[in-house]
Point group: D2
């Protein structure tokens, strides 16, 4: 009676022979992968140094410094010319058709270099917005917004999070859109709308409540709102640990009777959550992929610093528990890498929906562990670790915010935990 009798199959590994366990990059992706790595080293990094140099002393913070956009455009054109462009789009006519797995390997590299993604038109939130438009946009919507986005001529934002509700529960969305004649009239407040301060940002995909009387998951819609629509009031930039990331910014926006044409709705009324499925799976995993690169960079900095500075007669890295911290960081990075690759492969093999629990697993796992690694890299640097002299502070604040962006860790653990329970029914 008291004897332990577990009731579920414990065979979580599915079939060990399953394609899911083949985490090799495909042959066809190798040239692109090698090309991207070379391009980052030879083109992006020198451009980024120049870009940063141009920004020094620039005081009109909500514009780019003279010359910055120009050097960026040169690099973008070079990327486009070399075919290193829009390759994030999986399995579509308009992109390279990379599998999620192949993209994962590349995205790790993108994560190590702050301007790499944008240079190759693979930067969030444009990636998610383009993917959504490509999948569910009407021909007119595609012509007007997807085309210039794919060309890298404009940028975009995703207006989802609201300041006045707990957005960990997406059903809480309170911004409303009401159909008045042939126009949607939008009222409400959004914040942390990343990139909306960028003068090149022209369009926002905006999550709104259109059908308050429908079932809880069918009340929401997504609507295209041009940034220059009357009534779009940018209240100011939100800070990230004291930093406003001007001139791109994470804006706090009020929608005051903003009017957009009826046809700006995506897919149809009440289908907002459905569209989220399109963007969130890949978006979440892209973040994790890049985060592996960031953790790798942090470990690299930790070891380099620890070998080059001495205290008490020995290199820092040999003092106390530092070497064990290096080992633990390496172990966790390799474990995260394999988990992200597996989640990517699951999306390729099982589809986004079936792979959902794998995505939740890596989303809950990777930013938290990466934060710890970056934090330890900071510690070994002392004050330099939180300064502008290493990328560590930016890496930290960036990865820290991922622990609640696109669903907080806690919600992903809830999804994953419930999935586990579900195996017992």
């Amino acid at each position: 009676m008291n004897i332990a009798t577990p009731k579920a199959s414990s065979d979580y590994a599915l079939n060990p022979q399953d394609e899911l366990n083949d985490l090799r990059m495909s042959d066809k992706a190798v040239p692109l992968y090698e090309h991207v790595k070379r391009f980052i080293k030879e083109t992006v990094e020198p451009m980024a140094a120049e870009y940063e140099r141009l920004g020094e002393g620039h005081t009109d913070r909500w514009t780019f410094a003279p010359g910055q956009l120009e050097v960026l455009e040169v690099a973008k054109n070079k990327a486009k010319a070399e075919g290193l462009w829009n390759f994030f789009l999986p399995d579509a006519e308009t992109g390279e058709g990379l599998s999620n797995l192949d993209y994962a390997y590349i995205a790790v590299e993108l994560g190590k270099s702050p301007l790499a993604s944008e240079t190759m038109n693979c930067a969030a939130p444009d990636t998610g917005n383009m993917e959504v438009l490509e999948r569910v946009g009407t021909p007119e919507q595609k012509e007007k917004w997807l085309k210039p986005l794919l060309n890298g001529e404009i940028r975009s934002a995703y207006a989802m999070t609201e300041p006045n509700v707990a957005s960990s529960d997406a059903k809480n969305i309170s911004t409303t859109a009401t159909l008045v004649g042939d126009e949607w009239v939008i009222n409400g407040e959004k914040y942390y709308i990343s990139g909306a301060g960028d003068p090149r940002c022209k369009i926002m995909i905006t999550m709104v409540k259109t059908n308050p009387d429908a079932a809880p998951h069918q009340q929401q819609s997504q609507i295209l709102v041009p940034t220059d629509a009357p009534g779009v009031k940018i209240l100011g930039p939100m800070h990230v640990f004291g930093h406003d990331h001007a001139p791109r910014g994470h804006m706090h926006i009020r929608f005051e009777n903003v009017r957009v044409p009826r046809e700006n709705i995506l897919l149809g009324e009440g289908r907002g959550f459905e569209i989220s499925q399109v963007r969130l799976g890949p978006g979440r995993i892209h973040h994790c992929m890049r985060t592996i690169g960031k953790a790798e960079l942090a470990l690299d900095l930790m070891v380099s610093r620890g070998l080059s500075r001495e205290a008490f007669g020995r290199p820092l890295i040999m003092l106390g528990g530092n070497l064990e911290k290096v080992s633990r960081a390496r172990i966790e990075i390799e474990a995260m890498r394999l988990m992200v690759l597996k989640a990517a492969k699951a999306m390729d093999v099982l589809g986004n929906k079936e792979a959902r629990v794998w995505v939740s697993m890596v989303k809950a796992m990777v930013p938290e562990k990466a934060c710890q690694i970056i934090d330890e890299a900071i510690q070994i640097h002392g004050a330099t670790g939180i300064s502008q002299w290493t990328p560590l502070a930016d890496l930290y604040t960036d990865v820290r915010h991922l622990r609640f962006a696109d669903g907080p860790d806690e919600v992903h653990h809830m999804v994953n935990g419930r999935n586990e329970l579900g195996r017992y029914r």
Copy 2:
């Protein structure tokens, strides 16, 4: 032969009757404690709100906004008039003569309100500098620098940390001072010199190497360097997670043949480490005291937020492991509070030197645990937690930097660990 036979007395608690275990505030400190709490609520907090309002839109970042210093001075004068002034100085003729223990209770309150310490002339690094001057300064040094500091007329900096060496080992200091005629000629580089950007900052106590051929702990001296001395080059502000804290700043400074009179040396050649003992003990524990207040504030915000927002039909605070996080935070705060009180009492009863291991214990314990509590408070706030809308991001970056300021956690664990081993000899 193999039986475990520990060799040390395990009686770490010393005498249970010892005065060390009486952690009550003294009777005479109560009126001051109550007064300070009232003053923070009634004077400092409204002033701080006004101060912040005045700063909005101010663009000349390395000056104070018009009116800011004026409202601050009004509050400072009120504090002075009410006798809430310089009470940090322990057991000295010039201050209230508070014990470290009594000060600890008050400092917890100071830690909750960013301008409270400065308003009552109890802000770092002035506190440490005043304490040093009061203990080891010559009558001329006191007249010239201590007096205006005690009056709150000027501010000061402490130039210790260097960018090019591992400063966890203080013997690594490389800035030199050479006696040429009747002047010290100083060359070298310092960074993260907090407050040195403040236009009111007039004097820096600077750690230099004067006697490179002496024994390792007798090569260093501390010298008074006016901020306007020729050759003091402010290279720029160091960032703290992307924030430069203008206009006070944490400056990067180059000393290029800076000349100061011979009599600007404190205490004498080769006595730099000796002076550090004066400032570091109290300084480290003051940080810990205020950090308790910050952790308390973070927990307060965590609970307030968790009770006021709902997701999935329940207040956030009741979801998943959140309530347990609240409990763990409370337990750790109370444990930290008792440890800090005990360390303060140890300084009162045993003296700074004998209490050194207690100070190392709390210095290694408090910032690390407080960071975790603040981090959890951030998580429950979502994006708002890292924004400018709560003090949490500032609390985090402030307390995070304490994990390496005044000796990194690792060095304090080394001190404490070695003390433990010492009990076995």
Copy 3:
């Protein structure tokens, strides 16, 4: 609107002057404290070595080995003669009248030596049982059971936990007692009844359900059940990590129509939970007090071992992160010690009921942290750490079981977390 505005007073420290913060042992307890320490060293430890020697090779495991009880009795009589007897009982005519605070200092010492408590008649579960009888027993109950317990002539058990329900929620108790004529007829199953295998164990205080139709907290009663009552079936010993702790044991017992006189009920029908309040507060904190001693012993062993063994040319304690582990253990032990002292003082000053949240705090804090310290002491010992050659394995399993005995950590965190929320109403 979005500005953080915590609503609760954050003044958790109550009045800093409060007696609560005076953690000194009282003058009058000092001689006892010193006497107990001396007695443990001079009498208990040699006796324990002899006791262990006598047990070697003894094969009839559910009896004591010849001579074991005799040497124990000699030591008990010596303790009694010297007045080191029953001093656990707080504020009562029958004991030393030690405050909880004074007892805390002594209990730390008791925790370091396995037979110390029993030798001085201060061993669980007798302590709780005696306290309950002393507080709520009738004169007849006291004469029959309390007197021989206070004399150390018999031992007792506390039959609370049941195998078939989640006992973290005490309302789940399912063993029934029905009044039939002048007798209670008891049916049900209990397990982990510690000490019930000891041939000297004569009485069990048994938690039963008597009033299934009453309000949830008034359905339970506590009844005195002699171990030799017909129908008390000892099904066998429960193991603790593979160990059965014969001959004392943690027994699995079935009550099959066990009949005891009506007057064996304690206090009255439906007052079972009320009685629990009497025993649980002190019982929980006694465990924590002794656990400090166990953690102290583990650290002592960790350092002794680490200093005496070498690998890779250095003492183990100087390798990798070991010294930091020592430091962290010392910090946590001192923090736990202060928290336990404060909880004890809170019971003295505020009474058990008001001090309840302090007890929950230390109950959730101490066993978990002590387990980690013991575990690290094990690790530095290698295989010897889990062997019979050090007390570490016993310390670990003993302290590990405290994490769910008398309420699991999770329930204590719930109590403490809810108390924190309660401050916001």
Copy 4:
């Protein structure tokens, strides 16, 4: 000058196309894998239940209970007849020639069922001993010892660890073997010699020091010592958290002038460490493989229990942070599984020597994380979790001891950390 410039390639993933990243079981192993799973369910588990039943009440603890060996032999013969035998041996004529990767999938299953490995002659330490004999044994040694081992007729032990030195540094070995005439004369002490209490154990591979004047890594040799050789004194069983695991045992043995023929040396004088490389790589990873199965079993029990018991009106698994613990356990298990598979594949592709750092990574990662998962499963079970009613206590003590067996975690972190530093040279 201060700009962060990491010096190492961060390309730890090697070639993403590399065969190393293909973690699929081979086609040819699938039937065996399925057969083993079926055999465990249909044959081993019923046999194990019978075996346990036969042991009840058996008092002569250092013998098997009547019938136990018989039912085990029946199952072993069935396994042999069905070809489920000795399949642990990789790439050898005498076994199935399973790759490490294929074996990993199977070993996870073996780890869930205590008698499964032995039934299929894949149990440690026989596996390591057979592998060593097969690789380096002379024809005579193979005939005498390998043959009966491969047939499952005898069992064996590995006498490595010594009680009087820190065995984390294998160079500390102090047992000596001196050549006297044609015999090795062995003196010294070993402990935790697992299986040496088993009456079927006939041979011990014993690590000794033969060449004290040679270079540090060439002083040791391995010698075959029959358990019945005169002078082999079994001093007694070592306990594991109070458990002696009779009748197999972990014996404490003294070698008193034990004489064995000169030809009993393996491979040659001074080659003891060389032989260790043969056994330790696979041995360490086999432990990790089985540990994945144990962690999986613990999670299974945690969820089953949490769903079946209620407190405070809800299933335990839905209370507090329990669901998050389930999620974290699942994430860590999947991460560990992928890391172990990758380490196994590395051994297949790169060879044991090049794969060494992968083995150290999983050896340092898996037991520690598995302990945490098992510990949490215990906690949700309450007292039942440490009882004999679930396998959890055995799982815990078994996996806990792995944290120092075959090199403590700390040494594996050192190996891995140094490897990381090595990439910077």
